[in-house]
């Protein structure tokens, strides 16, 4: 029997088929020629004549031409694994084009990926903005890392049965008494390690006896207050009551006027306020500044 497979393989060599695919096609076409050879002999041809007829019944050039148009005839052997190639702009452009084609081929995936990226970037930016403002960005005062908040722990306050008052980071308001802690039924118990307000006497004792800080100042939220400019409508403002040494602690000075003095702490000496630049600009005509 003629060696059909070798005959076919010699015709396939010019095509860029993978070795496995070339072997498969050679086997299949050789079977076809063998079937035809048997058929011709069954019809009375001699083996040699049948082989010659089977061989001449197809056009080698036409077979190669038609097979050459197939995708499988453009096989590229992958390069063997080795050291990574040097960086080149061409490879970057090829990768970029490939990525763009892949993204355009799957628009739904692309839109989904872009949405996830946009939402993730937005959420990360928002979270970082908060963290930056609260924790990372330093206070706008000289030596901000040396400014600390001092208070008493809630468990320490509750153990002091003789504490006259438990509210107020500075001088207590007249008439304010001890604040009951955790008295409400079902209320969440206070965090024992949280800082709570200190009494006026405690604050004054700390100021007299401490040797750690350059200066100390008490601060207490005074809640809403009515600001009555000399000219204009009264306005609800929110402020803080502070000790006279407050601006010494911050090492800050107002743009206009003067800061508090110990004289301002004496009861009945009149109320003195330091206002922000923004509020001063709003009421420039009505607010009187102290020289």
């Amino acid at each position: 029997m003629p060696d059909w497979k070798s005959h076919i393989r010699s015709r396939l060599q010019s095509l860029r088929l993978s070795p496995a695919r070339e072997a498969e096609i050679a086997e299949e076409l050789a079977q076809h020629l063998e079937d035809r050879w048997h058929e011709l002999m069954a019809n009375g041809a001699t083996p040699a004549d049948a082989a010659e007829t089977a061989r001449t019944e197809f056009d080698d050039g036409r077979l190669q031409s038609l097979l050459g148009h197939l995708r499988q005839a453009h096989w590229h052997e992958l390069p063997p694994p080795g050291p990574s190639r040097a960086f080149s702009l061409d490879s970057v452009l090829i990768d970029l084009r490939h990525a763009i084609r892949a993204l355009r081929a799957t628009p739904s995936f692309t839109i989904g990926a872009l949405l996830v990226l946009a939402l993730g970037t937005g959420a990360t930016t928002a979270i970082f903005s908060v963290v930056d403002a609260v924790a990372l960005r330093p206070l706008t005062f000289p030596d901000p890392d040396r400014i600390v908040a001092v208070g008493m722990r809630a468990d320490a306050v509750s153990m002091r049965a003789d504490a006259p008052a438990a509210g107020g980071g500075g001088p207590q308001r007249p008439g304010s008494g001890p604040r009951p802690m955790g008295a409400m039924l079902g209320a969440k118990p206070p965090d024992p390690y949280a800082l709570t307000n200190v009494t006026t006497q405690d604050y004054l004792d700390w100021v007299d006896r401490q040797h750690v800080f350059e200066s100390m100042a008490a601060i207490n939220d005074m809640g809403d207050a009515v600001l009555q400019p000399a000219a204009g409508e009264p306005e609800l403002v929110r402020g803080q009551r502070v000790a006279a040494s407050f601006f010494d602690v911050l090492r800050a000075r107002p743009m206009l006027g003067a800061v508090f003095t110990p004289q301002n702490e004496i009861a009945g000496s009149g109320h003195v306020a330091v206002v922000s630049h923004g509020r001063l600009a709003t009421h420039e005509a009505g607010l009187r500044t102290t020289p």
Binding site: I25, E28, Q31, H32, D35, R36, F58, D60, L63, L70
Partner: protein, 117 residues
């Protein structure tokens, strides 16, 4: 409108007809390449003959399109053979091509026999 070149039309007709023929004979059951060629030759009364150089490239092209699927089948005492079967996509294509071909043949028949009707 661009002129239709007759050699190109003839080539496209033959190409379309060849695809339709192969899909049609694969509709009933899977067959191997030699059987496909002989079946078409027999059923056409010897008028249509597929030689190796056109049959297999066309089979491989239909396989690349996903219209047919080839698989090697081994039977006891026989050499293994590659059988082709119609895929679901190929079945839809066959229905479409068959309808188009019928309409085309009918249109040609109306024109060519119009004078004698």
């Amino acid at each position: 409108m661009a002129d239709i070149k007759l050699p190109a039309l003839d080539r496209e007709l033959k190409k379309g007809a060849a695809e339709l023929l192969l899909l049609s004979v694969l509709e009933a059951r899977p067959r191997h390449g030699y059987e496909l060629g002989k079946l078409i030759e027999t059923q056409s009364g010897g008028r249509l003959v597929f030689h190796l150089d056109s049959l297999y490239p066309l089979l491989y092209r239909l396989e690349e399109r996903g219209w047919i699927k080839g698989a090697w089948v081994e039977k006891a005492g026989e050499r293994r053979r590659r059988f082709y079967r119609l895929t679901p996509t190929g079945q839809r294509v066959l229905l479409r091509q068959r309808q188009s071909w019928d309409e085309f043949v009918e249109a040609v028949r109306l024109v060519t026999r119009g004078e004698h009707a």
